[in-house]
Symmetry: C2
Subunit: 159 residues, 2 copies
Amino acid sequence: MLKLFEYNWQVRKEWFDWCRTVSEEELMKRRIGGIGYILPTLYHIVATEYGWICGGIQNKAIEIPPFAEVASLQQIQDFSARCHVELAPFVYNWNDSLEDRIMIDITDEGEREAHKYGEVMRHVIAHEIHHIGQLSIWSREIGKEPVTANLIGRRLFDI
Amino acid sequence: MLKLFEYNWQVRKEWFDWCRTVSEEELMKRRIGGIGYILPTLYHIVATEYGWICGGIQNKAIEIPPFAEVASLQQIQDFSARCHVELAPFVYNWNDSLEDRIMIDITDEGEREAHKYGEVMRHVIAHEIHHIGQLSIWSREIGKEPVTANLIGRRLFDI
């Protein structure tokens, strides 16, 4: 589980770096599909991971700033770093005994839904990779090479 | 590990169904980013999973047909099904003792690279989710709702 989170965190860092090579206008330009903009996509990735792990599984009282309050690259990267400090210990301490524990989620429609921790963790992993795939298309639309999505070659695994 | 493969297989099946609601022309229209076309993206996902798991990890003599030989939705879905029969047993029999085993890959440049099985498996998982994220953008460009990427809500986990 941890390795896929580490992959996502490394890729996210590289997308923040990529964003520094692009104008602010491009980062906030309306695009087709997904969240519709590059910067809000990165915000959404951070907020979703934080919301599910700290707010959901750990059931902490968390506060997720609205996008407007962190609407710059630096502020979103700072938001990501703050969330990371809070949620990374849970991910690093993950073990198989947590797989089947249950959390209760209140959906936007006010319904209570039960999810296994293992399901939530994989949801968060897939969620980030999916949205990063969308960024890679928008990157090519801008005429720029996207961050590589390859997991192999990132030295996440020692040999 | 298995759950993320099951997620990918379920999502892939839904994209094949989605493709049936779209003209052949749209499936083969040149697009910006990724593999550049919808149908070749699905082919690429199948070939990559099969190549790494059966050809790479299991070191079987496999044959991957060039795209031109399976260049229709039905043929790619059949190709996917044939590969699935071959590779699914390995995924279902996955266990932690396989994590650190080593496979040798010969890169396109002819170099030998060693990878842990666990790294390859996660590479394959992330690879498919990434390309599916790209399809979701192209789907909106066509004006169609994409297949949901949510992992939660797919009943992959019993409660």
